[in-house]
């Protein structure tokens, strides 16, 4: 056993013993539930003190699994390892299965079979569905046929048939998005950029508003110049173009800063989960009686 492996084994054994001791003496990582008639709802340790809640073995196991998988994913930061591989494989497998189930129950059953055979679907899976068939429900045969054609991609022969539904999907999506972008992004953004260069507030000169408007107008103009390649970027055009680069760099910097903030928030929530829900080292929401 090399030195590094010995250190890691020692650290894992110490951490495991500490965890075991804490679980035995403090009882951390237990999830409580309350039975309300025929439903079981999540509860907290306060309710357990008054004996209205009981520990749930399955939810407790779920919480411990979540904690151990979180640590397994974090372990990748040190080095790729079997724990990380297992956690990664579980995430991929569960996600794929979840998407498949959602695809069947949220798309195919209500939006296709529910329209074609409403009475059957109502009796079988969706009691709230109206059993009355729409007079134009036969139109849903079109997406049914297109769906079958799309599946032909998996067939050994006739894969070219899948191009028709794909063409339909690309065409309709492009059409829908084009209209949205032209209206909301192109025309409305032009409208929002045409601003007074001298802003007035209640009949008085507004310095902050004027500066803001100037930055917007100059920024848009400079950035557009940078992307205008029909004229060589030298002289005045080159200067304005370089100003455009500055505006773009500031934009990228702001985007990067926001991205960092998002990633730190994600790390914070995982650590909060480990310290609060699992290890009971902190209790910011007052979910447990004091130890």
């Amino acid at each position: 056993m090399n030195r590094e492996r010995m250190i890691w084994t020692g650290l894992l054994v110490v951490a495991g013993l500490w965890l075991l001791g804490r679980a035995l003496w403090v009882g951390n990582g237990v999830v409580y539930v309350q039975d309300l008639g025929d439903v079981t709802v999540s509860s907290d340790a306060w309710e357990a003190v008054t004996e209205t809640a009981r520990p749930s073995i399955f939810r407790t196991a779920g919480l411990w699994l979540a904690a151990l998988f979180t640590l397994a994913i974090f372990s990748f930061l040190y080095r790729d390892n079997p724990f990380y591989k297992i956690a990664e494989a579980v995430v991929v497998g569960v996600s794929a299965a979840y998407w498949m189930v959602v695809g069947v129950w949220a798309t195919m059953v209500p939006n296709l079979f529910g329209k074609l055979f409403p009475a059957t679907i109502k009796a079988w899976a969706m009691p709230g569905l109206s059993p009355v068939r729409d007079p134009f429900s036969w139109l849903y045969l079109v997406p049914l046929v297109l769906g079958i054609l799309l599946m032909m991609r998996l067939a050994p022969k006739g894969q070219w048939l899948a191009r028709w539904p794909l063409a339909f999907i690309i065409g309709t999506t492009a059409g829908i998005r084009l209209v949205g972008f032209i209206h909301a992004d192109f025309l409305s953004q032009i409208n929002s950029t045409v601003l007074p260069l001298v802003a007035m507030e209640s009949g008085r000169f507004d310095l902050a508003g004027t500066l803001g408007n100037l930055i917007v107008v100059i920024g848009v103009f400079a950035c557009l110049t940078y992307f205008f390649f029909s004229i060589e970027h030298k002289g005045v055009v080159g200067g304005v173009s370089r100003l455009g680069i500055w505006f773009l760099m500031i934009t990228f910097g702001a985007a990067f800063g926001y991205t960092v903030m998002g990633r730190i928030a994600l790390l914070a929530i995982r650590l909060e989960f480990l310290f609060d829900d699992w290890l009971w080292l902190i209790d910011p929401t007052g979910a447990r009686p004091p130890m």
Binding site: S188, A255, I269
Partner: protein, 285 residues
């Protein structure tokens, strides 16, 4: 020394970042938060509606972004419940209904047990189709939403009476983790039909959505910072500053501050080392 620091194993940086985030959480550090005009605009959009207004809450996020968006979703539901608005929940993300259930359990069932499902709030669940769903329901909601998330026919839900399309709502609140999200609500609801939309989004999206402010999007909560600001406005207005579960956003700004300080230090240190190395190389015989 310079050589050693320049070749420092990146895992030391990971460890420093872990400590920078973990220590403020363990010591529960909190810093004062001052709401910006954007957060105030979102707050005013909800606050200025008369009680009983119909608010559509579109929760388009999943567990991967729950840490960033959960606090603002909680604050939105709390604010609407406190104001007595009718809440209509929908989701364009497949796991959105679970996020909705989570907020209903956390806020409504815990602190507003008097609110009745179907009369004060309803969960219409997830619909596949991305922006296609928005495009349909802005003119005909019932074409896609025939039942609620539990399978109850919407004609039997009292608060759905008189709701024909999204245009019948007084406000749309969108919590967005990506596509489809706030951008699509602006493109297909706010811009063409003038439907008032406010939102909260992840940090990655925020710079892409700012150009819509204020004409197409009156207010926007950008990432956990926006959530903390909005949270402060809500808890101050309704005197809830000591209720821990409504202070998640404010709590998570503690690690943000320390981690950002570390990042600034690392960026400066990296540049200093780079220029010092260049200087050394220039004067090397």
């Amino acid at each position: 020394m310079l050589e050693y620091v320049a070749r420092l194993d990146r895992r030391w940086i990971f460890l420093m970042m872990l400590l920078a985030v973990a220590i403020p959480i363990l010591f529960q550090l909190r810093f004062p938060e001052t709401p910006t005009p954007l957060a105030k605009a979102v707050f005013d959009a909800v606050e200025n509606l008369p009680p009983g207004s119909k608010v559509l809450l579109a929760f388009d996020y999943d567990p991967a972004s729950e840490g960033e968006l959960g606090p603002m979703a909680t604050a939105f539901v709390l604010h609407c419940a406190k104001k007595g608005h009718k809440m209509y929940f929908i989701a364009l993300w497949p796991v959105g209904p679970q996020m909705i259930d989570d907020q209903i359990r956390k806020v409504i069932k815990t602190d507003f047990p008097n609110l009745v499902y179907g009369e004060d709030y309803v969960n219409l669940g997830f619909k596949p189709g991305n922006e296609g769903v928005i495009k349909v329901i802005v003119t005909d909601l019932r074409q896609l939403y025939t039942t609620d998330d539990k399978g109850v026919n919407i004609d039997k839900i009292p608060m759905m009476q008189g709701i024909r399309s999204v245009q019948d709502f007084d406000l749309v609140i969108n919590v967005s983790a990506g596509y489809p999200g706030t951008k699509e609500w602006v493109q297909y609801a706010a811009t063409p039909y003038g439907i008032p939309v406010v939102g909260g989004c992840t940090g990655v999206q925020a710079p892409l959505l700012y150009p819509y402010i204020p004409d197409q999007l009156p207010g926007l909560l950008g990432a956990i910072k926006g959530a903390a600001e909005y949270e402060k406005l809500v808890v101050d207005r309704y005197d809830l500053a000591d209720v821990g579960r409504y202070l998640e956003g404010l709590r998570r700004m503690g690690p943000q501050l320390v981690a950002h300080m570390l990042m600034i230090f690392l960026i400066i240190a990296g540049n200093v080392i780079y220029f010092a190395q260049r200087r050394q190389e220039r004067y090397r015989p």
